[in-house]
Amino acid sequence: MSTAGDASSVLFELLHSSLISYVCSSEDNKSKSVSQLEAHGFRVGQSLAEQLTKDTPRFKDDLEIMKFICRDFWNAVYQKQVDNLRTNHQGVYVLQDNNFKLFTHISAGKQYIEFAPQVD
């Protein structure tokens, strides 16, 4: 049972959950707090993607971009790759991570599922 992982990612997880609990407690509307978190994620993601792609040639198409997200980006953030990438070939991509890093210490089942944002 290897649960320890890298110490610096423990600190990241704790910081990440402080941000979430702060945003959720200062905003009583759940969809508003989710969009606030998304806006923060956007800025963080943008900077990281710039770092990660600075020595790579331009992506040819959507699929290449998605592959970058599933491999390099996911690896940088979660130290693993996305397990499965599916598409309907009309611009919709579904990324499946069977062991999402931020959840491994929280739940392996349905407990707490009511706190997850709902899919519209």
Partner: protein, 145 residues
Amino acid sequence: MTVFLLHIYDRNGNSLYEKEWCRRKKSNLTKEEEKKLMFGMLHSIKSFVSKLSPKDSKEGFLSYTTSQYKLHFYESPTRLKFVVMTDINVGNIRETLKKIYSSIYVAYIARNPMCDLAEPINCKLFESRLETFMKGLSFFEDSKE
């Protein structure tokens, strides 16, 4: 050999978690009284042991044995208290108790933002990991008598 039960207390003596796997005799106390008395007893033994000890011992009080059962005690550096009761044939299981702290409590409670550290533990993942861990112990025996 058999594991009877496990208790976890926080630093102020509040019971965070308890699990009984096998219990042959009920005391005539309420659950609350029993937990309080156990904590009070542990607290007293712990401080008495350290007062008697000729030098500042790192480990302090480890276990005691009666004719019927053995109580094992481990206190984390953050003063969480882990108590496991087994039958008297079980040896020193200090490493096992440490492991309950370091790879189960820390991983699924301390690192779990959904769990309030001051509240009794109510986390399914913690419980199932603990259950798997305990049942995998060589001295665990799920006896249903």
